[in-house]
C-alpha cells in the first residue's frame, strides 16, 4: 500500500510538484502519464524513498523495488550477480527468475555482452525476485523498438499479476500504460499536480 500526502516538492526554492494525494493498494497498477520533464520521475523517486526532501508524508507498507529508467546494472559484475547482490536473493532464486524472464542462457554473461532489451529484463528480474509489496517502474521500456516492447509488456503484466503488489508505472507511451495499468493519472502543470483519469483499462 502506498499513501502519499504531498504539499510541495521543490528544487532550489522552485516548486516542481504541487499539492497531491496518491493512494495505491495491493493489486492495483497506477499508470502515470505526462510529458517528458513533467515530474513523473521526481514523484517516483519520492515514492521510492530516494528523495525525502519534500513537504508532506509518505507511508509505504512492505518492501519496495524499482525498475529504473536506465537498466542500472553493475558492469563489473555478471548478470547473475546483478540480481543476487543488491537483493540478497539466493543464486537459485535469481537463476529461476532469470529463466522466468528468458535470460537463463546469459546469466553468467557480463552486462556489456547483452543487449539493451536483455538488460531491461535483468532489471525486471532484479525487481521481481524480491517479491516486492510496492513496485515502481520508471519508463521501463524506453528506447526499445515496438516488437521488443510487446514481448516485455506481456512478460511484465504476467509478473505483476503474480506479485499482487501495489504498482506505479510511469511512461509517456499511452500504449504501455493501457497494457498494464488498472488506474490512470496524469502529471501536469507547473508546479505539477496529479490529475486522476476516469478511464479504466479495457477488460478490467
Amino acid at each position: 500500500m502506498i499513501r502519499l500526502d504531498l504539499s510541495e516538492k521543490g528544487y532550489g526554492g522552485v516548486p516542481v510538484l504541487g499539492p497531491m494525494q496518491l493512494r495505491v493498494g495491493r493489486g492495483e497498477v497506477l499508470g502515470l502519464s505526462g510529458a517528458s520533464g513533467a515530474g513523473k520521475t521526481t514523484l517516483l523517486r519520492i515514492l521510492a524513498g530516494l528523495d525525502s526532501r519534500f513537504a508532506g508524508t509518505l507511508e509505504i507498507d512492505g518492501r519496495s523495488a524499482m525498475v529504473f529508467q536506465n537498466p542500472t546494472l553493475m558492469p563489473w559484475r555478471r548478470v547473475i550477480d546483478n540480481v543476487t547482490l543488491p537483493t540478497s536473493a539466493t543464486e537459485e532464486q535469481a537463476r529461476a527468475m532469470l529463466a522466468r524472464v528468458g535470460l537463463e542462457s546469459v546469466a553468467d554473461h557480463w552486462p556489456g555482452q547483452i543487449s539493451v532489451g536483455q538488460a531491461r529484463r535483468v532489471g525486471l528480474a532484479r525487481a521481481f525476485v524480491t517479491k516486492p509489496d510496492v513496485l515502481l517502474m520508471d519508463e521501463p521500456f524506453a528506447s526499445l523498438d515496438g516488437a521488443r516492447v510487446g514481448d516485455l509488456l506481456e512478460l511484465t503484466a504476467a509478473l505483476i499479476a503474480e506479485t499482487n503488489a501495489a504498482v506505479v508505472i510511469a511512461s509517456h507511451a499511452a500504449g504501455e500504460l493501457d497494457a498494464l495499468a488498472t488506474r490512470f493519472a496524469r502529471v501536469d502543470g507547473r508546479p505539477a499536480r496529479l490529475f486522476q483519469e476516469e478511464r479504466v483499462r479495457a477488460g478490467s
Binding site: 523495488a65 529504473f68 542500472t72 556489456g112 543487449s115 532484479r126
Partner: protein, 274 residues
C-alpha cells in the same frame, strides 16, 4: 586483425571497431619494453662517449660496475631498505588520508565548496617548503620525514578521488539505497569498482612521486637511505655514485610498478574488455 567490440552508453548500444593498437595498449609487451630500455642505455652510452668526460658524464660501462660493487659489498641494501620503508609508510598514509578526504569532498557538494580551495592551496605548496616545515616543527626524525612525504602527496590523491566520486553513476547509488544494500556491500560492489581507475591512477602516479620526495627528505635530513647516499656522492662529486644509487631505486620502483601495480590495474579494469 580487427575485432568487433561492443560498448553500451546510456540507452544507446552500438558496434564499434576496436583498433589493434587499443588492444595492444591493454597488455604489457615485455620484449618491447626490454628492447626500449636497452636502447635507452645505448643512447646514454653514445652520449657519454660523445662528451668524453667520464667524471662529469660517466657512461653505463662505469655506472653499472659501481652499482654492482655497491650491491655485492652489501653497502646498498641498508640504504635501499631504509628508503623503501619510508616510501611504504608515506604511501600508505597518503593513500588512506587522501582517499578519505577525496571521497568526503566528492560526496558532499557543500564540503567541496568550502574545502575544495584548501586542496588547491595544498597542491601548490612546494614540496621543499613542506619538508623544511616538517623538520622544523617535528624535528629531524623519522616521523617528520614520513609526514613530510605524505603531506606532499595527500592533496593529489584527494583531488583524483574527488573527481572519481563526482563522475560516479548516481543511478547505481540509488539502486543500492533502494535495495538497502549494506555499507560494506555498497563499498565493495558499487563504490570501489567505480573509483578503481582513480585509485590505481593515484597509486601509480603517487608511488613515482613519493619515492622522489623521499630522496629529497633523506638528502636534507636523514642519516641513511638512498637520498642520504646521494648526498654523500654529491659532496664527493661522485656522479657515477649518484647515478648508481638512483638506478638501484629506479629498478626497484619499476619492479613494483610492473610486478604489482600494473597487474592490479589490469585486474581492476578487466571487466571493461568483456
Amino acid at each position: 586483425m580487427m575485432r568487433a567490440g561492443v560498448i553500451t552508453q546510456g540507452h544507446e548500444r552500438e558496434q564499434v571497431e576496436r583498433r589493434p593498437e587499443q588492444e595492444a595498449n591493454r597488455r604489457p609487451d615485455v620484449p618491447v619494453a626490454l628492447a626500449s630500455l636497452i636502447a635507452l642505455v645505448l643512447v646514454w652510452a653514445g652520449g657519454a662517449w660523445l662528451l668524453n668526460d667520464p667524471r662529469l658524464a660517466p657512461g653505463p660501462q662505469i655506472v653499472f660496475p659501481t652499482l654492482w660493487e655497491a650491491l655485492v659489498s652489501g653497502q646498498l641494501w641498508p640504504d635501499l631498505s631504509a628508503t623503501l620503508i619510508r616510501v611504504l609508510f608515506a604511501f600508505t598514509l597518503a593513500m588512506g588520508i587522501g582517499a578519505a578526504i577525496g571521497i568526503a569532498l566528492g560526496a558532499s557538494e557543500r564540503a567541496d565548496r568550502w574545502f575544495g580551495p584548501w586542496l588547491t592551496v595544498a597542491l601548490n605548496v612546494p614540496a621543499l617548503v613542506t619538508i623544511v616545515l616538517c623538520y622544523l616543527w617535528i624535528g629531524l626524525n623519522e616521523w617528520a620525514a614520513i609526514a613530510a612525504v605524505a603531506v606532499n602527496k595527500i592533496p593529489m590523491v584527494a583531488v583524483m578521488l574527488r573527481e572519481g566520486m563526482i563522475a560516479r553513476d548516481p543511478d547505481l547509488s540509488d539502486m543500492a539505497r533502494l535495495y538497502r544494500m549494506g555499507v560494506v556491500a555498497r563499498l565493495r560492489h558499487i563504490l570501489i569498482p567505480q573509483l578503481a581507475p582513480q585509485i590505481m591512477g593515484a597509486a601509480r602516479a603517487g608511488l613515482a612521486l613519493i619515492w622522489k620526495i623521499v630522496l629529497v627528505v633523506e638528502f636534507l635530513g636523514r642519516s641513511n637511505g638512498i637520498g642520504f647516499r646521494i648526498h654523500l656522492d654529491f659532496q664527493m662529486f661522485d656522479i657515477a655514485g649518484v647515478l648508481a644509487n638512483a638506478l638501484a631505486f629506479v629498478a626497484v620502483m619499476l619492479a613494483v610498478e610492473w610486478g604489482i601495480l600494473a597487474p592490479l590495474a589490469r585486474r581492476a579494469a578487466s571487466w571493461r574488455q568483456r
